[in-house]
Symmetry: C2
Subunit: 284 residues, 2 copies
């Protein structure tokens, strides 16, 4: 059987008891390490599990999945995913390939940033569709996410923004010379995301994610040093939430006073926060 096991958000102890039992008895253990990362390294996981772990990069999962699926109709194979197994499309695809080979699958759910972001006090049932923000380059500034924020905003909902992760990306100059050299991992910060949102707002001009828009940045959700910062996008663009992973929530119009009361404790500046909150409510 192929087991998809969620590892949760922070470190080796966020695995569930059920998940840990399967990892310990599985014939092979893969760690998907390109759509999200834990705050601990592979060696820490291996020490905790008492066994070795194979890193599954994007190429292995998308092009060499036969290696992962080999013999999984006879033995237990564990495929570990940071967060919840169904957070990324990639894993849905892997289940489909297993089905084609008549390999039974099993899923062990866990915390995801999609619900972990509830630590902000924003009510999870008031979120609209989730968007992803990629690193802009000089000539590539994708902004299709803007329309999705616009849709969420029109019906008053919060928008969770998942931030880009670049792991094991080849250096393009080296690649042009026929050499494969990997860039160091990069993780988008709340400040970078806020800055990119402000830039696109200046181009589009619908007034949904400009400098004054109210948002909240989170870092290392579920870890002891979890950090939450609430403020305008301009304030967040100047913030430093420390080590990855970061996420951002753009706050919608339909809010509950309980959300404000909870979130206010994390405001960069309570006065600016109150003003931005009042201004947001005027747009209703």
């Amino acid at each position: 059987m192929l087991h998809f096991i969620g590892l949760g958000l922070a470190d080796e102890k966020d695995v569930t008891v059920r998940g840990l039992e399967i990892i310990k008895r599985a014939e092979r253990v893969y760690l998907e390490a390109y759509t999200a990362v834990l705050l601990v390294d592979k060696e820490t996981l291996e020490a905790f599990y008492g066994r070795s772990v194979i890193i599954a990069d994007r190429e292995m999962v998308e092009s060499s999945s036969d290696d992962i699926l080999a013999d999984a109709d006879k033995v237990d194979v564990a495929f570990l995913v940071v967060g919840d197994p169904f957070g990324a499309t990639t894993h849905t695809d892997l289940v489909l390939r297993a089905r084609e080979l008549n390999i039974p699958t099993n899923t062990v759910p866990n915390a995801s940033i999609l619900t972990g972001v509830g630590c902000t006090g924003l009510q999870l049932y008031n979120f609209g569709q989730t968007i992803s923000m990629v690193f802009f380059t000089d000539n590539w500034r994708p902004a299709s996410w803007y329309d999705k924020i616009l849709e969420n905003d029109a019906i008053g909902l919060h928008t969770l923004v998942l931030l880009d992760i670049k792991v094991k990306e080849p250096n393009l100059e080296a690649l042009a010379r026929g050499k494969i050299i990997y860039e160091p991992p990069r993780f988008m910060t709340v400040a970078q995301c806020a800055q990119q949102m402000i830039e696109i707002e200046e181009e589009k001009g619908n007034g949904i994610c400009g400098k004054d828009a109210l948002a909240v940045g989170v870092a290392r959700v579920g870890a002891p040093d979890q950090t939450i910062v609430a403020g305008t996008l301009e304030q967040l663009s100047q913030s430093d939430l420390g080590k990855p992973l970061h996420s951002l929530v753009l706050i919608g119009k339909n809010t509950h006073d309980l959300e404000r009361d909870y979130l206010r404790a994390y405001a960069v500046d309570p006065q600016t926060f109150d003003d931005a909150w009042a201004k947001k409510n005027e747009r209703k």
Copy 2:
């Protein structure tokens, strides 16, 4: 410190290793048992934890929270929540009360039905706001959820419907005679939810959740006997997914072929499923 610990969705082994460590060392352990339930009883949890657990019903949490918070500034108190701790507004409120008393809090995230529903193959970032469906009575048929589905539908998103749970409800006839007798627990089924949606659609007539609308019902997500059934609301209104807890997803217009391919394996009838899927896409 007051620890909010998510228990996940199915049974005693869905707690995280981190959560279990805190439960074992806490001075007191409360189990919130009215917004959701696990598939195992309190005694199973107590045997697994090796310690006793205090059931916290709605009255205790909302009216007698001082008992829960007592001494939590000096000792560890664990407050266990089925699913993820931030799934229900109640817990946000409890954190606020702890803050007022200068009691530090800590949250241990876990799987929630909001992400567990990814087991259907529907992409989690394509969900709109979540709605709740309560049991209709002869003279109380709340339908404010209909407008929210309408909003989600307009922008093509899926809608997760959380189904009513009645735990420890007093019998009204007995109450009128001055006696408190509790009704047996009741859990709404996918069939009941589908039926209520069809009834309200017949009144409102926007064509979003009638007999032909495509939906998927899930039961006991994360458990070994997890069940997924895809079909029209009419088909689901005649389905039997077995024991609680059930949830339902109304499928939006903006779908990916991967979602169809994944979900089709759970169709009541593949032909009807394909027809309903094609019809849904015509509405784009």
